[in-house]
Amino acid sequence: MRRGAEISLALLGVAGVLAAAWAAPWLRFVLTIALAKGIAVLGILLLLRAGQVSFGHALYLSSGAYVVAFLAPSLPEALLLLPLAALIAGLIGLVAGLFLARYRDIFFGMLNLAISMVFYSLLEKLYELTRGTDGIRVEPPRVAGLALTLEAYVWAMLLVALVLAVGFGMLVRAYLASPMGQALAGIKTRETRLEFMGVSARRVLLAAYVLSALMGGVAGAIVGMTTRHVTPLLAYWTTSGELVFIAILGGAGGALGPFLGAVTYELVRVYAAAAFAEAWQAILGVVLLLVILFAPGGLWGMLLGLLGRRPGRAP
């Protein structure tokens, strides 16, 4: 029953995104970015299940984007760049995760932040390689071997993001229901019990971490190919903060939460910027405060409440 409801909600969301993109051309871009960020936030959500907050996931977002920026000239094919970005971000996640998975809570969050800021500095300092803060331009790659017109390309990126969002959403849903996912919740409640059962908490967290890094890489690749200009700002801590912000806004209860949060976040930002060009930060802050104060389960929890169900688990 619950599953059926979630699937129909997801289908409704897909239809809503497509309808909005069809009606308003400029929304195609905003929604593609929102879906990409939603995919990255899905990774944050996995870690949130284990009670761990990463303040450094911009590392994976930006590494995915820079994989695109560096490889697009020699390999102009979106459907190859995406898995490559995922692979490289996943590998970085594996290396970093090997020692990060030993840490918990504030130490986990801060170490993630530290590593991502090291990467940011490298992007800025290795000027000859990365063109520094001015960033690298990305020429639109082919999609499935087709050199598309720019208008078709914008549509193609939206559809790619939509398909990946649905795919990763289902994957995360299945993962959370699996023993590996259940063990994540075990880390949050009482880790010793897990170890007592013969389950290695480190491996459980590492697996989730690598998966989240991989999704971050995919999200970054989409962002890079959509904005077609990649700058080190993507690796800055404010981007990591944005992802955590979206996770809280959307709610950590279900796989749809991150997408709900990301779309809301982008739309609120666009509207706030349109209405009050110099006060958009304040408006976003007020929205987050309202959500924390009145809807601790995030937008997803609010939606479940509207549908007459109990709100999902708070983060």
């Binding site: 909005a20 009606a23 871009f29 077609r228 700058t231 349109a274």
Partner: protein, 441 residues
């Protein structure tokens, strides 16, 4: 909390969300614009927050002031103008999204893009894609027109190469016997680019200068004591720095306190915007630039009345002198007015569409208060550069240049189709013979 109140609050939220999404789905105006519009919308991206807002906010004030003046005088071609501002600070993905929203949803007729070079690099491909005339109103990177063609993008002011080459030529002309040099630039693209341009040109024009220190402190550094100590120890004849805004103020204050200015000659190509804040702290006798020719004490402006009218009305509103981003905004708006006049005249009084407007910009010649700027065939504007030596007069409570040299834009700009660094390598020392003499006073 009762269920009923919860539901009603949620209901209200849902209604509000619906109303918002409703307004967003149906754009106000389409992209076709053959008919004369009710108003001419101009999208302007500028820094409204963050450290670069020291440039962005004065430019915004200038745009608001000039648009009011234009509207009082009947608008452009009889159509009132309206500005829509976008903050550049949140980063590329937000800026690119806003650019699309302004063009596709608000139906703006002209875009003014960006202070940051990174923003300009991100926006110019969009101008190609959306076929929307985009004026690059302040950014300086030489990469824009050297790395690709952009039929709808035009830069209505100078750019990095002339803005660095002119101070170098000034130094070589007026103090040719320096032997050592140090650089202290902000650690980001402009700091690196402006050093590469300077170094390449200096090696071509005066080979054998020893670089005794290359310092790249981070953007927004609050403390330069390490750098000042190293510069005091290295004793360079010349210190080159393209610092800007608050960073330049901090650097000058800390270097002045420790008498670094007594020991070395500073070359500060972006000094002008910080001179009002520095006041008397800025030492006299150092080479200063303004990214153009728009000094308050321009020795022979083309239209002195227009310059002083602009400066005075800006001062009345903001209680300070306009700085170079204000002039760049003025130039962009003047170019837009001139292009519309040209396009409307070419169409016999009809309203131009996007293609006709862009065609009017190509090769456009427009007047600024200080001189005339021509847009080359690649879209780059040719703006003269004035460099001088900091000095104090009774007229201004802050440093202004004296012994100014007016560098004709064509002399210091990379020719069309060449890359700046390659062109700079071909410079010969006899270029110095072409440099005009300083204007005494």
């Amino acid at each position: 909390m009762s269920t009923q109140t919860q539901l009603s609050r949620r209901g209200a939220l849902a209604v509000a969300a619906g109303a918002v999404s409703g307004s967003l789905l149906w754009p106000g105006s389409g992209s076709a614009q053959a008919q004369k519009p009710a108003e001419l919308k101009v999208g302007i991206t500028t820094f409204l927050s963050g450290p670069a807002s020291v440039f962005g906010v004065p430019a915004r004030h200038t745009a608001e002031m000039l648009f009011e003046e234009i509207n009082r005088a009947g608008g452009i071609g009889g159509v009132p103008v309206r500005a829509l501002f976008v903050d550049e600070a949140p980063g590329t993905d937000h800026l690119v999204g806003e650019f699309r929203r302004l063009v596709q949803n608000e139906g703006v007729h002209v875009m003014f893009a960006s202070i940051s070079s990174g923003s300009c690099l991100a926006c110019t491909p969009l101008s190609d894609e959306l076929r929307k005339t985009t004026i690059l109103w302040d950014c300086g990177t030489q990469r824009i027109f050297e790395e690709g063609r952009h039929p709808y993008a035009f830069r209505t002011q100078g750019y990095a190469t002339p803005e660095v080459l002119a101070p170098l030529l000034y130094l070589l002309k007026t103090r040719p016997d320096f032997r050592t040099l140090a650089v202290i630039n902000q650690d980001y693209a402009w700091g690196r680019d402006s050093w590469e341009i300077w170094k390449t040109a200096m090696d071509a024009l005066k080979p054998g200068v020893r670089v005794v220190a290359e310092l790249f402190p981070r953007l927004g550094a609050p403390d330069y004591s390490t750098e000042v100590t190293r510069l005091l120890a290295a004793r360079p004849d010349v210190i080159y720095s393209t610092h800007w805004g608050g960073d330049l103020v901090t650097l000058v204050r800390q270097a002045a306190e420790r008498r670094l200015f007594d020991r070395s000659t500073f070359v500060l190509p972006v000094a002008e915007a910080s001179l009002q804040i520095l006041g008397r702290t800025m030492p006299a006798g150092h080479i200063i630039g303004t990214r153009g020719d728009h000094w308050n004490n321009h020795p022979r402006p083309r239209d002195p009345a227009r310059l002083s009218r602009f400066v005075e009305s800006y001062r009345r509103r903001q209680n300070e002198y306009p700085i170079y981003p204000c002039h760049h905004m003025y130039q962009a708006i003047s170019a837009m007015q001139a292009a519309y006049e040209k396009a409307i005249a070419a169409k016999g009084g009809g309203w131009p569409n996007d293609q006709e407007l862009a065609a009017a910009f190509r090769g456009l010649e427009f007047a600024t208060p200080t001189s005339t700027i021509t847009l080359r065939e690649d879209g780059q504007g040719l703006e003269d550069q004035i460099v001088g030596v900091s000095s104090f007069t009774d007229r201004f409570p802050f440093a202004v240049p004296k012994d100014m040299i007016i560098f004709p834009a064509a002399m210091v700009s990379t020719p069309v189709g060449q890359k700046s660094v390659d062109w700079l390598k071909t410079l010969k020392p006899d270029l110095l013979a072409q440099v005009p003499a300083p204007i005494a006073g």
